[in-house]
């Protein structure tokens, strides 16, 4: 039998070490990958409906419940969109505090992914538990880093999970200078630990695999992008956040409840750490740039497996940036600026740990929400993940099923997919059948 005549299917039922549950299916026919499906379902659709009729100030807290790992991203995109609708801008120390709490979320989320979800793939461990049995001190370092991020979120957000202190216009309560300065000590340790993290992951073995992605991220005139900027891409996109839906289309695909995002007229695009890094290397702090160079990363990285190194560099940046902002902190006069509602549509986009998170709301003059739209990063990356898998599998058809399935799961984990955000239930199925034909 010639290999060209074989048909086989790779299906993974339960994708481990991703946020939530998802399913994956790869079909191979005639020696070629004929179909790749990442199946996910969408809670944002539920939340969009749930938000209608609510007061505009409630979106910050309601949407933060979409994801346990990146609540700040949801709060900030929602707050930005509402402030945009009402024509209010939050500046100065309040803006700095928002950036600090967001750094906390990056640290917490990236440390979790780098150490506990992604590293085991490269070191040949089935899970973080197995890694911890052999390398307890390394895992403890990762957990301590995560805790440093959680600490910032608890200080500014009121608590670690689903912070309750963020509101449209600012915060309910702001820290005293002393409280915030006290947070600097654990962050200095975290910054050193992040540098160690970059050195550690840079030595991992990476598959030789690059994709020519269109990468999309925010870009700000002076900062590495977190809370605002214009939307730019490696193929010349340069638009205001309010133009997002003019350039990005969402399509239903039969195999997934999640909408697939694509750039109008071009197709798949990539969001997340690799995109932020490629489009904003020059905006990283000198220390983060040095860490990247030391790790052998060029100004652009197109190997999704090396995204773990980029995440580690962003860990350095987030610690560094939070420390810089804490250093210059003077408490604002008021914990929040007043945001009176008006009939309008507002747009908000911020850089969640996994990539851009877009919110749009239409409210009436009394502040009641008439319409809500939420586009999370994982649903934007869905098509790029499928394209990675198609090419990755195509080049490795000779691998035995177990090895191929394992590597496909790794290829998906490169994206740190947050399926509980992008989806309702992510059940990753990889099923591989070989049907030999006469």
């Amino acid at each position: 039998m010639s290999p060209e005549r074989r048909t086989r299917t790779i299906k993974v039922d339960a994708l481990a070490r991703v946020e939530g549950e998802g399913a994956m299916l790869v079909r191979i026919a005639g020696g070629r990958v004929s179909e790749v499906q990442l199946r996910i379902y969408e809670p944002p659709r539920f939340f969009e409906a749930f938000l209608r009729g609510r007061h505009f100030t409630e979106a910050v807290d309601i949407t933060s419940r979409i994801c346990g790992i990146c609540p700040i991203a949801y709060q900030m995109s929602a707050a930005n969109a509402m402030e945009d609708a009402c024509g209010v801008r939050v500046d100065g120390a309040l803006r700095d505090l928002r950036r600090i709490i967001y750094c906390g979320e990056w640290i917490e989320s990236h440390a979790l992914h780098v150490y506990l979800l992604h590293a085991p793939d490269f070191l040949g461990y089935e899970s973080a538990v197995h890694l911890a049995r052999d390398h307890g001190s390394i895992v403890r370092r990762g957990l301590q880093l995560k805790k440093a991020g959680n600490g910032l979120m608890a200080l500014l957000g009121g608590r670690e999970v689903h912070p309750i202190n963020v509101r449209v216009g600012g915060f309910y309560r702001v820290p005293t200078t002393g409280e915030l300065r006290a947070a600097a000590e654990p962050l200095k340790w975290a910054r050193d630990a992040a540098m160690e993290t970059v050195r550690w992951v840079a030595r991992f073995p990476f598959p030789d695999f690059e994709q020519d992605y269109e990468m999309v991220a925010l870009r700000h005139p002076s900062e590495y992008p977190i809370t605002e900027g214009r939307l730019v891409s490696t193929r010349g996109l340069d638009i205001a956040v309010r133009e997002f839906t003019d350039h990005v289309v969402e399509e239903h695909v039969p195999h997934s409840n999640a909408l697939h995002a694509a750039i109008r007229g071009r197709g798949a695009y990539l969001v997340g750490p690799m995109a932020r890094y490629a489009l904003n290397f020059d905006r990283l702090s000198p220390l983060a740039q040095e860490a990247a160079r030391e790790a052998g990363l060029g100004p652009v990285c197109r190997n999704p497996f090396r995204s773990i190194v980029v995440r580690a560099v962003e860990l350095v940046y987030a610690c560094d940036e939070a420390l810089r902002l804490i250093e210059r902190y003077e408490p604002p006069d008021r914990p929040a600026v007043e945001v009176p509602p008006r009939a309008a549509t507002g747009h908000g986009c911020t850089e969640a740990p996994r990539g851009i998170l877009y919110h749009r709301y239409t409210i009436d003059a009394s502040g009641s929400i008439l319409d809500a739209k939420i586009v999370p990063p994982t649903s934007q990356n869905q098509r790029a993940i499928e394209e990675d898998l198609a090419r990755f599998v195509q080049d490795r058809l000779d691998l035995p099923t177990d090895a191929l399935t394992w590597q496909c799961e790794q290829a998906i984990r490169n994206y740190d997919p947050c399926i509980s955000c992008a989806t309702h239930f992510l059940t990753l199925e990889v099923e591989r059948l070989e049907v030999e034909q006469a």
Partner: protein, 156 residues
């Protein structure tokens, strides 16, 4: 006084997935002395941070194992891993309760006594509100934890 940490895990907007949170919210109404109550919404990793150094830990999570909704599973995780069927990788969270317990065990931070309650859910779709059987189970588990905590502390 013995330090007991009670952690409820779950997603408040995924119907019966909120059972563990509902238990700790009931306990908040009358927290037994020496007991710390934690809501680990959607992040069971918090179990690790809060239980380190505790004498005993009680963890409550919803499970979906195909059993009768409202069924309460009570397990002792101090000595052996939790059954994967109940607390394995099918969790909607990054780490299942079973994995977090094993991680703590591997790192040597697991409290000497660990009791895990699993409450079998019926509905896990997006939305609020517990199924009636699950709400009843929440009351039973909360009462059981309160009674045991009172016994552990002794008569006041």
């Amino acid at each position: 006084m013995k330090r007991v940490v009670v952690v409820g895990v779950g997603n408040a907007y995924r119907r019966d997935d909120a059972a563990g949170l509902a238990v700790v919210r009931r306990l908040r109404e009358a927290v037994p002395p020496g007991t710390v109550v934690v809501e680990a919404e959607a992040d069971p990793m918090l179990i690790l941070e809060h239980c380190a150094g505790a004498e005993a830990a009680v963890v409550i999570d919803a499970v979906s194992s195909g059993g009768r909704p409202g069924t309460v599973y009570r397990l002792d995780a101090g000595g052996a891993p939790l059954p994967e069927r109940l607390f394995g990788t099918t969790s909607t969270h990054a780490f299942s309760v079973g994995e977090v317990v094993e991680l703590a065990r591997a790192l040597g931070t697991l409290p000497p006594r660990v009791t895990v309650f699993g409450i079998e859910g019926r509905a896990f779709e997006a939305g609020e509100g517990l199924s009636p059987e699950v709400a009843a189970a929440v009351e039973r588990v909360a009462a059981e934890i309160t009674a045991e905590a009172a016994m552990a502390v002794g008569p006041t």
